[in-house]
Symmetry: C2
Subunit: 157 residues, 2 copies
DNA sequence: CTTCATTGTAAAGTCACTTTACGTCTTCTG
DNA sequence: CAGAAGACGTAAAGTGACTTTACAATGAAG
């Protein structure tokens, strides 16, 4: 290595309150941990055909009797992309589109029995994870952590 | 709404400690907020050609003088996908591959001046956001929040 | 009824990423 | 030192989630 070689990060980044790792990275890592856990639970329960993009569909509240556009809005995707998802998950047997009696061709999305089962696996998994974390961090402290999280998530704009 | 209409979720999900929204959803929302903020800052600073997939490259510590495979490992992608990213960002002028004298064809990834500028914009943005949050939540409480986050992120396995 | 926005969905295009492949370099072993 | 084995860099083709474009059908407003 020649003398002209600089240290890997030759430019310092101005000190950040609390320093790295930053909130962003920490949030991302934690969220990943949760997601991996959910994946694992789903796979362990035998629903091996569910892929990553399908998961948001099982966000609370579960999509039973909602219009495709409503579902699209909930999971923050375009109607088209959502329709793509729905078609796929209908083929896999997790969802179905059923017409409402008076509704012309307006069809609502419903969970099948299989879909409900996945929902239950996911929520059981989350319940367990939260209990574990509460245990590890301390019930009260974890409760406060959740409160802060809720507040930061709710913040308007 | 007709009388035949059921409530959207006809099947109840067993109560979860603290109830919904769950940790996963909260973490995701908060993380998104951070990411959107970073995007905004980057765009405002005029780096409008940077897209979503490019951002992880600017994680701390900034990739200056690292091997492609090292970078791949850091951002959790395959060597090939990372190489795809590097090629793109090199074309955009944020990175460059430079040979080390003795290293044969082993070339290291370096930030260009433009790349360093983005890094600074991002870290300034994060510093500002953390300060805002600390202000809003309360310095001490936010500090504890960060501690919990760090612990949950660090948890082995 | 006519007009206009909204909705559902289909079809084609895009692009991030994977899989496959291969040549080069490093390191281990005899 | 030679040869084998593994890691590394990168290119090329394939995959699939999503976007864009398009359009027919519905419902609402005038």
């Amino acid at each position: 290595m020649k003398a002209s070689e600089k240290s890997p990060s030759s430019r310092a980044i101005a000190g950040v309150e609390g320093g790295p790792p930053f909130v962003g990275a920490l949030l991302r890592v934690c969220w990943r941990r949760v997601r991996d856990r959910m994946h694992e639970a789903i796979r362990a329960a035998g629903f091996t055909d569910l892929q990553d993009p399908h998961l948001p569909v099982f966000s609370y509240p579960l999509p039973d009797g909602v219009r495709p556009s409503e579902l699209a809005h909930r999971i923050g995707m375009s109607r088209q992309a959502t329709n793509y998802l729905i078609t796929q998950m209908e083929a896999l047997g997790y969802l179905e589109r059923r017409a409402t009696e008076g509704g012309g061709d307006r069809r609502l999305v419903h969970l099948t029995e299989r879909g409900w089962q996945v929902g239950e696996v996911i929520f059981a998994c989350l319940r367990e994870l939260q209990a574990e974390w509460a245990e590890e961090i301390g019930r009260e402290r974890f409760g406060d952590f959740m409160d802060v999280l809720r507040r930061l998530a709710a913040e308007k704009q």
